[in-house]
């Protein structure tokens, strides 16, 4: 394969035959039509022996006017010059003759020339047949080889234009004279191992270079063939390699220079006159450099390698090298070729030629061919896939025609203008969001794509036009010489440059420059002129709407009061603390300029305090008549018992539970469970399970774990338990069909949304609403407002508050109306009066409001609140939540029920992604909630099951699980909040904190979430280690006390700043103590002496820390 890049720049020429220099050019008549027509006749003839590349380049222009027009029809934009020639035998390599009319195909079983005329490919000389039919060698000896396994072929140039060279894997190079096809003209056998490449000098066509696996490059002169055909000796040998030479190429401009690339990734430039050492030697690649190709300017060279890089080097000087440009390719590159140069679109270049594109082919498994443009190296410009496997060899015939051969045995002349552009298949816009809420958006205008209809000359839409070359003749005749990558989509010329476009009519430039000697613009000139051609893109960067200002977020995260210290009873101290907390939050929100938010805090504070006061009142009353305490307790299992039963059940039938295997999928699986509870037999939904009904019916008290001797599992639930597992596995299979997505998608943050849009969740409510038969007995037995509320629910227009409040997460269920905050305030004046009244009284039994609906509720509420004597339970529960002293719904009838308010607030803030407010609302309010609005039973069960599984997967013991439920989730569930939602809110906020790098706040949040909400902290329970910090460099000292030498800075550390000894002289041995504020440590004994006996208060290191305080 020879390096013919420079020759093929001149793709249209009808120069006189070989060895005669080109005649001085006639100034071509600038007839646009003819020029354009001639533009299509590229592959006619070449000046076969140019005196210099420059003249040769010139020749293209020169020849345009004069010849070849009779032989070819015009090649218009829509014409596809693709042509194929099938041989059926694996072709390994291809070479082109100097004129560009013939291709030489070589392979193991093929060796022939093919003439290509337009779309016609005709086999001309079958060398292989000739060889086989000729029994004798040129010297008269019998032919020794029957098969030649050709690795590479090259076609000589100039005087020796009839000769072809074939490199074989045995290390032999065989020369054939096409005039005497059968007889090898000479055998060049000096290479010991396979010859990879042979190439003829583009200027002196008789010089042949061969690069071999044995690490040498040899120079041969074909003129010697006539004298010494039998024993042709190589002229020169260039070695110094100990690894194979993969590719060798002559310089296109400098006739004595060549370059090669080696197996270990070096590329070298040599002068043929210097046998000793290369001019330049560059370690270009880490893996084998498979191909090199000179840029037509003669200064730069591209090297392509198995390490998936194409690098372009400046070989004009021998300084220490780094690659000038590089293209990261998707696969190992096996072949790469610069595309012949095209007319520069820059006005200042005066129509000189430029070359920025190259084609790459990859290893066997990746059949795609890419055309890259160095000006936009990130993505290929065009791509095509001509064969099933990668092409074995390729070369450019002319600017648009690419010749490839493949293992399938097909020679293909591909019209690259018809290869699809990669960018047309890409999205032209993209955006990204930073964790701080900044958004970047890039967009580009796509040119209206009118793909030319092939074989329909009528559709004369030009495929490639740029803003510069749009002129009548180019629209008609497509193939301008201009740069086809310059369209608006891929690259475009920014016209507002120092060269005003108005002064230069591009088409006139092209015309006036006919015949002017035009050289190839050096690649660096093109590339350094960054502004000349850029992709025209628009980028927008800015802050996202509805996103928290990062500064505000940080401020609030640091300042917000997260929890209040709970007391056993609702007393003034607690009230004061709660009030302070809310007021502070309100103040900070106000500082941050979030007035709406501060209003929210204000209202929440008011409602919470009202509720708390009411509870305090009720508590006081209850204390008074505590002797009337009802002894009988509810037969309702606590969550802990439920969880334990789940665990026990699981132990029995662990096989049946798919959830126990994969803890991640548990949540989503069981999120889906309520959906399928409509298939559960009705006993599950018996109203006797409802906490409200049963509680107020039997006794107004929830069972306590401490008094669990009274507790028995309700008979209604136990059969459900036993049915549960088979049922669930059945549901699971259903679920996969129903919502596979929700099963697979385990994103916690997503859970919030899915949870709230759960189409139907609660079965227990359905019978209550629909099955009227269940309700009447309740009505008779109840004197509390719940029963009344049920009645209202069954009769009234809207869902009663108590029912809806049973599940804040289910509030968006289509079947039910949403109990919104605003709902009671439909008749705002009246209710507001009600609130005022309630507040003035300080009593739950407020004066009845005036409107029709709330009136009976209020009355109904007032009565039991006064009459019932809720049992008082204090001090047994740990203070994760406010001890709920009342089974009475002290809020019933009030326009704002706290838990509903909370649910609505959560919904609102989550809609805007404001997990911060939601989290703080939750952490503040949730412990204070009354146990009056428990979740529906089915949901409780599902939740408990989920959490049981999760905790078990986390490695908690059963009794630990029970205590978690008891202390944390029991309250949450009874208060009517869905723990899964809380968990997802908290973990979302935690993620936000981590992305803002607010580690302290995140740690605090984890502390709050432990142990109930595993999603928040589970990634942070491991791999926490404490190291000593090096005093000099501040890095951790992993080895600890053993050496006391910092690994990073090798600084020796002092054990104790007081005694400087290993053991304290004041006793206490080696025991160390650390000030948690400043982090300075010392022996405990020494420190004690320092602080106690010397009476010092500040840190002894002088850091200013008052450690003693």
């Amino acid at each position: 394969m020879s390096n013919e890049g420079s020759r093929r720049q001149s793709s249209v020429s009808t120069a006189p035959p070989a060895s005669i220099p080109n005649p001085p050019p006639l100034p071509a008549a600038p007839k646009p039509l003819q020029r354009a027509r001639d533009a299509a006749f590229r592959f006619i003839g070449y000046p076969s022996r140019p005196a210099s590349p420059q003249v040769e380049v010139n020749g293209r222009r020169i020849g345009q006017g004069s010849g070849g027009t009779a032989r070819y029809a015009s090649l218009s934009a829509t014409q596809n010059a693709t042509a194929t020639h099938k041989t059926g035998l694996e072709i390994k390599t291809i070479a082109i003759n100097e004129k560009g009319t013939h291709a030489l195909l070589g392979g193991k079983e093929i060796f022939k020339t093919v003439k290509i005329e337009g779309k016609l490919c005709v086999e001309e000389v079958n060398l292989r047949t000739a060889i086989r039919s000729t029994p004798n060698q040129a010297s008269g000896k019998p032919r020794s080889t029957y098969n030649i396994d050709i690795a590479d072929v090259a076609w000589a140039k100039g005087d020796c234009g009839d000769y072809v060279a074939a490199a074989t894997s045995s290390g032999r190079i065989i020369l054939y004279d096409l005039g005497h096809a059968g007889i090898p003209a000479a055998q060049l056998h000096e290479h010991l191992r396979q010859v990879h490449k042979v190439t003829f000098n583009p200027h002196r066509g008789n010089y042949l270079l061969s690069g071999s696996q044995d690490g040498t490059v040899r120079l041969w002169d074909l003129r010697d063939v006539r004298q010494q055909a039998s024993a042709l000796q190589s002229k020169r040998k260039y070695s110094g390699q100990n690894d194979g030479v993969r590719d060798v190429k002559w310089s296109p401009t400098d006739g004595v220079d060549f370059a090669f690339g080696t197996d270990s990734g070096w590329i070298q430039r040599w002068d043929i006159r210097n046998l000793k050492a290369p001019k330049i030697r560059v370690p270009a690649h880490t893996l084998s450099c498979n191909i090199i190709d000179w840029h037509p300017d003669g200064k730069h060279i591209a090297s392509a390698s198995s390490d998936k890089f194409v690098r372009v080097w400046d070989f004009s000087h021998s300084d220490k090298q780094t690659s000038r440009w590089e293209i990261k390719t998707p696969y190992p590159v096996m072949n790469a070729r610069w595309r012949p140069s095209c007319e520069s679109s820059m006005p200042q270049d005066n129509g000189a030629r430029q070359c920025t594109q190259l084609v790459t082919a990859y290893d066997r498994e990746h059949p795609v061919i890419h055309v890259w443009d160095l000006r936009r190296p990130a993505l290929p410009f065009r791509e095509m896939t001509p064969y099933d496997s990668a092409p074995t060899d390729l070369l450019w015939h002319s600017q648009d025609l690419l010749w490839t051969v493949g293992r399938e045995g097909t020679f293909l002349q591909a019209d690259i203008q018809h290869a699809p552009k990669v960018i047309d298949r890409r999205s032209l816009s993209s955006f990204a969001i930073s964790p701080e809420g900044e958004i970047s958006f890039v967009a580009q205008k796509r040119r209206l794509r009118r793909s030319p209809k092939l074989h329909h000359p009528a559709a004369q839409t030009p495929n490639t036009n740029n803003s510069l070359s749009v002129s009548p003749e180019t629209t008609f005749l497509s193939r301008s010489w201009a740069d086809d990558s310059l369209d608006r989509t891929f690259l475009s010329v920014t016209s507002s440059k120092r060269h005003a476009m108005s002064k230069f009519n591009p088409s006139s430039i092209a015309i006036t420059n006919e015949g002017v000697l035009c050289a190839v613009v050096p690649l660096n000139n093109i590339m350094d002129d960054k502004r000349s051609s850029v992709p025209q893109q628009v980028m927008i960067t800015g802050r996202m709407p509805y996103h928290m200002d990062p500064d505000v977020f940080r401020f609030l995260a640091a300042k917000y009061v997260k929890t209040v210290a709970l007391t056993a009873t609702v007393d003034d101290k607690l009230l004061q603390a709660v009030q302070d907390a809310f007021k502070k939050n309100e103040k900070y929100a106000n500082y941050a300029g979030l007035y709406l938010l501060s209003g929210t805090w204000d209202i929440t504070r008011f409602v919470t305090l009202t509720m708390l006061k009411r509870r305090a009142e009720a508590q006081r009353k209850k204390d008074k008549n505590s002797d009337k305490q009802i002894v009988k307790r509810v037969n309702k299992p606590t969550l802990a018992e439920l969880a334990l039963s789940f665990l026990a059940e699981q132990e029995q039938s662990s096989v049946l539970s798919p959830a126990s295997i994969l803890p991640v999928s548990i949540l989503t699986q069981h999120l889906g469970v309520p959906e399928s509870t409509s298939n559960v037999p009705t006993p599950l939904a018996r109203p006797v399970n409802s906490a409200k009904t049963s509680a107020s019916q039997e006794i107004a008290k929830l069972p306590d774990i401490d008094n669990s001797e009274d507790l028995t599992l309700p008979p209604s639930l136990s059969p459900i338990m036993h049915h549960k597992l088979p049922d669930r596995s059945f549901f699971d299979s259903q679920l996969t069909a129903d919502n596979l997505n929700s099963l697979q998608d385990t994103d916690r943050t997503d859970m919030v949304r899915r949870w709230s849009t759960q189409p139907k969740t609660l079965l227990s409510l359905d019978p209550v609403d629909t099955e009227g038969s269940k309700i009447p007995p309740k009505l008779q037995k109840h004197d509390s407002e719940e029963s009344f509320a049920f009645m209202v629910g069954s009769t009234g227009s809207s869902v009663p508050a108590s029912v809806a409040s049973a599940g804040p997460m289910v509030s968006e269920r289509p079947s039910r109306r949403i109990p919104a905050i605003g709902e009671p305030s439909d008749d705002a004046a009246a209710e507001y009066g009600g609130i005022e009244a309630a507040r003035s009284d300080g009593d739950a039994a407020g004066s009845p409001p005036l409107t029709d609906e709330p009136v009976p509720v209020g009355q109904a509420k007032a009565l039991p609140a006064a009459g019932a004597s809720p049992p008082h339970e204090v001090g047994h529960e740990p203070l994760y939540s406010l001890p709920d002293d009342s089974q009475e719904d002290l809020e019933a009838g009030k326009p704002w029920v706290l838990v509903e308010l909370l649910a609505e607030l959560l919904k609102h803030h989550l809609k805007t992604g404001d997990a911060q407010t939601a989290t703080h609302l939750l952490t503040l309010v949730e412990p204070l909630l009354p146990h009056t609005h428990p979740l529906p039973d089915a949901e409780i069960e599902a939740t408990v099951f989920t959490y049981t599984e999760t905790y078990a997967a986390m490695g908690f013991m059963p009794d630990e699980i029970a205590s978690i439920f008891d202390k944390h989730l029991q309250h949450t569930v009874m208060a009517g909040l869905q723990p899964l939602q809380i968990e997802s809110i908290l973990s979302f906020y935690h993620d936000q904190l981590m992305s803002f790098r607010l580690f302290d706040e995140a740690a605090y949040l984890r502390k709050l979430a432990y142990p109930a909400y595993t999603a928040v902290y589970e990634d942070f329970t491991e791999d926490n280690t404490i190291h000593l910090k090096c005093g000099a460099c501040g890095k951790p000292m992993v080895k600890g006390m053993a050496t006391l030498t910092c690994e990073s800075c090798h600084e020796k550390q002092v054990p104790c700043p007081i005694c400087w000894l290993k053991e304290s002289p004041y006793g206490g041995g080696k025991l160390m103590s650390v000030c948690m504020v400043c982090g300075h440590a010392g022996h405990a004994g020494c420190l004690q002496h320092w602080f106690e006996e010397d009476g010092e208060e500040e840190c002894l290191t002088g850091c200013g820390c008052v450690c003693k305080s």
């Binding site: 191992r193 880490t286 198995s306 220490k320 293992r407």
Partner: protein
């Protein structure tokens, strides 16, 4: 071309190459014998001749090793002509990984266990008996090779390749300086010793960093050597890590340069590949997982990894069922075709659902196997052709290594 096994292995009539490996008995002494003699049972006369030869060889070897020992003790030994085995000498700064490489490659130490290796304080040698008997030695850093009082002769005179191990995760500039000293010293005094550089411990480095350091080391060493007038001296560089296959591949390339038979083997493999449409063919030394030859097509580490793992599988199975059972040792498809020259160990495994591409393994002898990655178009119905051609290759290889 330096020869190790014999002076003129490439000449038409190769002289018998010394083969110290007792399993080399399996090679028939000539091609005519090969057809008649089962590879496990060679003719008694042949055995006799080989035994004799073997004894000579072993004597020579012990002599060499004695000399080496003497050399370590500081005695000057007379010039010893380099004997048949490729001898590798590991050099480099301390803690650069010389012992680890030696242990992992030649003694099959688990790479993770190399953490616990002690410092090497004296010249330690290791040999591995396989198809080719590798001898490796390690020169601890404190024994400066360029020091005048050092017994260079004993160390370098029979060394085939000196391998400089450079820890790329450490400060490598000092190592480069020392390396250049050593390289210049070797170039001036022992020009026949190949100088190779292992840029070691590349695992865990980012691609960009790897490329940059690799390029920098190569450029720097080359520049320095050119400045010192040894620019024509070729130094090979390899990025290695004991935690993947790169160390084995680098060792393979080092060893290959020491094998005079390499061009012949390579030409044979090239022919085979083009005839049977094989993507890549390796001649593996089964025990060490070093390949002694491959065809000339571009090599990919991936191919080597697959083949190497396959060799591992085969060796493991052979460990179970015995080395000398010449029945098929295949995993997926195992056939033992009965040709006239006895049983052939061969196996195939496919890793492709279509079965178009598969790996074909064939034993040349107990310690040398041919592993081919087959490409499309060489499906199993072409097995006859493949078997025939591999048989030819088998015979040709035996001729190359003819005893």
């Amino acid at each position: 071309m330096r020869t190790l096994f014999s002076e003129n292995i490439l000449s038409p009539s190769p002289t018998p190459a010394p083969q110290p490996n007792p399993f080399e008995l399996l090679f028939p002494s000539s091609l005519s014998n090969a057809s008649s003699a089962d590879s496990t049972q060679s003719s008694p006369r042949q055995n006799e001749w080989l035994t004799q030869h073997l004894q000579n060889q072993q004597r020579a070897e012990s002599e060499t090793s004695n000399q080496a020992n003497h050399a370590a003790n500081g005695q000057r030994a007379p010039y010893a002509r380099r004997k048949g085995n490729p001898k590798l000498l590991f050099m480099g700064l301390r803690r650069s990984g010389k012992s680890s490489i030696q242990k992992v490659v030649f003694q099959k130490l688990s790479p993770a266990d190399t953490l616990f290796l002690e410092h090497t304080t004296r010249i330690e040698t290791a040999t591995m008996q396989s198809f080719i008997t590798f001898e490796s030695a390690e020169l601890p850093h404190h024994l400066s090779a360029t020091a005048p009082d050092f017994d260079h002769h004993a160390v370098f005179s029979n060394t085939g390749a000196a391998i400089w191990v450079l820890d790329v995760q450490d400060e490598y500039l000092t190592s480069i300086t020392e390396m250049i000293h050593t390289a210049v010293f070797l170039a001036e005094n022992y020009p026949r010793v190949n100088f190779e550089v292992f840029i070691h411990k590349t695992d865990g480095l980012s691609e960009e960093y790897k490329y940059e350091t690799f390029r920098e080391v190569r450029q720097r060493v080359q520049d320095e050597l050119s400045d010192l007038g040894h620019g024509d001296r070729s130094v090979s560089y390899f990025q290695t890590s004991i935690f993947d296959h790169s160390i084995f591949e680098a060792m393979s390339k080092v060893v290959q340069k020491l094998l005079p038979q390499l061009p012949a083997m390579e030409a044979l493999l090239n022919k085979l590949c083009s005839t049977c449409r094989i993507q890549k063919a390796y001649l593996f030394d089964s025990v060490s997982k070093i390949y002694v030859a491959t065809d000339a097509s571009p090599t990919f580490l991936k191919d080597y990894e697959v083949c190497s793992d396959y060799v591992d599988v085969i060796v493991d199975i052979k460990q179970i069922y015995g080395w000398h059972s010449q029945e098929g040792d295949g995993k997926a498809v195992s056939e033992s075709s009965n040709q006239d020259d006895g049983d052939i160990g061969e196996s195939m495994v496919t890793y492709d659902r279509s079965g178009d591409t598969y790996i074909y393994a064939r034993e040349i002898n107990d310690y040398l196997s041919l592993i081919c990655v087959m490409g499309k178009g060489s499906s199993t119905d072409k097995r006859v052709l493949i078997d025939y051609n591999v048989g030819i290759l088998h015979d040709a290889l035996l001729q190359v290594f003819k005893v």
